[in-house]
Symmetry: C2
Subunit: 149 residues, 2 copies
Amino acid sequence: MKVNLNQLKDEFKRYLKRRNMKITQSRLDLIDLLASYGRHFEVEELVNWVASRTDRRVSRSTVYRTIKLLQEFGAIKEVIKQNNRTIYEFVVGKPHHDHLVCVECGKIIEFVNEDIENLQDEVCREYDFEPMNHRLEIFGICSECRKQT
Amino acid sequence: MKVNLNQLKDEFKRYLKRRNMKITQSRLDLIDLLASYGRHFEVEELVNWVASRTDRRVSRSTVYRTIKLLQEFGAIKEVIKQNNRTIYEFVVGKPHHDHLVCVECGKIIEFVNEDIENLQDEVCREYDFEPMNHRLEIFGICSECRKQT
DNA sequence: ATGAGTGCAAAGTATTTGCACGTAC
DNA sequence: GTACGTGCAAATACTTTGCACTCAT
């Protein structure tokens, strides 16, 4: 699934306008960089990668602030919370999915299951609960790791 | 569902023996206290509660260390990871369940859904992934909070 | 021109760890 | 008696924040 980056950035600009926030180079850079990163990431990783990729310096603070902003905008999500690490994902143009996480090698496998989604909605209706987002993490051991006992 | 505390503590003692660990007063106290606490908890909360409940002092370090141990033993689980908070639950004698978390008031609603569990197992088989545990958190707004708009 | 954004260093949180002492075995 | 457990304070890791300066509007 290919994302139209320009369209995305336009939406982001409109989003910023609506909130009376400024369209800054750092914010646009980060959305570009995230779109091209194409993997799950942690903040530290992103800070370093951004430093290596661009001449422009983007401080750790700005990365944290922009990550929060992009989460509200809906472009990225916290997908895994393991120990004290938080792993994010750029979700634009991807259908909703959940994750299998290998506790041995750290591999992350994405899966889509409509039935699970539907059942969740059903549960929410039952409790008159309005869902905003959810996170399903299945921790276990992947096939490769099981082989090399 | 009533837990047989003595049986649980015996199992825990055997578990410790097997791992060549010592059966200490702090460890037994904590399992007692957790069993009687009966709510979701955070570490800080537990530390304070333990201090108010017993004459015996149990240090924050020991609480952290014992929580980790009891997780391995299987008596408690990290059920919610939100922002930088970790919420635990004493799970002995409770069937597996997942959680709805109100982002407005913090209320936690537990639900059991066998179908979701089965579908998860199916997904794992499909990816030849051996699940050890999982966590499904649905964040949203509860009915009370929606009423008082 | 004005106020929001940024970078930096400092402050917060949550959790872990080194070490001297205590206790289970 | 020996080794593991505990308490304390310090260290670590992650994230947020105050402030002076910069930049978008």
